[in-house]
Symmetry: C2
Subunit: 197 residues, 2 copies
DNA sequence: GTCAATTTTGACAAAGCTGTCAAGAATAGA
DNA sequence: TCTATTCTTGACAGCTTTGTCAAAATTGAC
């Protein structure tokens, strides 16, 4: 290899992800990314071709990291504990930063028709993967016993509700309220022995 | 009054609303609005000053219409019927059009930090008004008896879940699935006599 | 019919964006 | 040390956008 890349690709994608996360795909310009990373715009185009390709690479890191967290959160065999941990993490994920950065999945999903086919496919896949993980975690006998519906539907409800939380975060910036709603949602979804008596 | 306005303001705001609804605030240009309405860009600036003011007027119509529908949907004293009607309407609202236009509230909420203070305040108010209507409807004795939590929290959950539906609509364009999830959500939120035995 | 206020029109300036490109700089390998 | 390849740099073209403005057109009121 002659003419070695001058920048640290790992750091670049990290900074790019942060920028896209803060502003969304459409509202982030290559100038923004260049400033955030310290890498010239021309170099970015040389290395990645266009904004979409760069976004997809950043989103890839985000996806892997997010799903890793979800897997970890769902290890507890008690579905109430598992879902509570999951929601706590999801809320933390979207309320971190100042100003809070929100949820990149949700933001990108909303931008979807205009963001292009490749990004659409990637976002869909992330949501599907997320749903699959939750469905799996809710498919244990212990979980089935407490669930008020079948695991697949329950997983869909959880995913949909987390997307709703992301929207409410944008409007009201109130992590406590998001946590409170999450707790209640889990309680409603899982009849945890306190109901049905 | 001398020099009368040449265009029908009612029709203009209607077309502007449709355009903003289809593309969102940021992605809609004044050129788009001009083309959709047949009114020259200069006239729009003369009449409304800037894009934000025009958007707020269009959003105002949208808000009034949406809340009117919600009020109507919630008249039924049976909370299950009321919420089912509400969800059916909300899903229809976001899946209409080709391509489907999605939910303007949700889209605008996601764009929020960048859309400006005035729009932020307006969107917040709409969500609060929506929440208040649902809370009221769920505060009847009949509803309280079936609810698995207090009416205020239940209303928050409903609103948040509808926002989640809007996000899922963008990603998967599947009205049937949205309806199915809505039904299950209502069933879970309201122990309708079939649970707890 | 005339006038004065208002709207319409089309051009304009200023800014921001994406993507391209040629010239210069850097470097691994011979 | 030399060279071929790759990366970097800064300028550029082309496009889109917002908002402004002066001149022309319109029209209600007198």
């Amino acid at each position: 290899m002659v003419g070695t890349r001058q920048f640290d690709e790992d750091a670049l994608l990290e900074a790019a992800l942060e920028t896209f996360w803060q502003n969304g795909f459409a509202a982030t310009s290559m100038i923004d990314v260049a400033e955030a990373t310290g890498v010239q715009r021309g170099s970015l185009y040389n290395a990645y071709g266009d904004k979409e390709r760069l976004f997809l690479l950043a989103f890839e890191r985000y996806s892997i990291r997010f799903l890793d967290f979800v897997r970890q959160a769902l290890v507890d065999p008690d579905p109430v504990v598992a879902l509570t941990t999951l929601f706590k993490g999801v809320v933390a994920n979207m309320t971190e930063g100042a100003p809070s950065r929100g949820c990149l999945t949700t933001r990108t999903a909303i931008e979807l028709p205009l963001a292009g086919k490749a990004i659409e496919a990637r976002v869909k896949r992330l949501i599907e993967d997320l749903t699959a993980l939750i469905r799996e975690a809710l498919s244990t006998p212990a979980a089935r016993r407490q669930l008020s519906c079948d695991p697949a539907m329950a997983a869909d409800l959880v995913v949909t509700f987390t997307r709703g939380l992301a929207v409410m975060e944008r409007a009201f910036h109130n992590p406590q309220h998001l946590d409170k709603m999450s707790k209640q949602f889990v309680r409603v979804l899982l009849l945890d022995g306190k109901r049905g008596r």
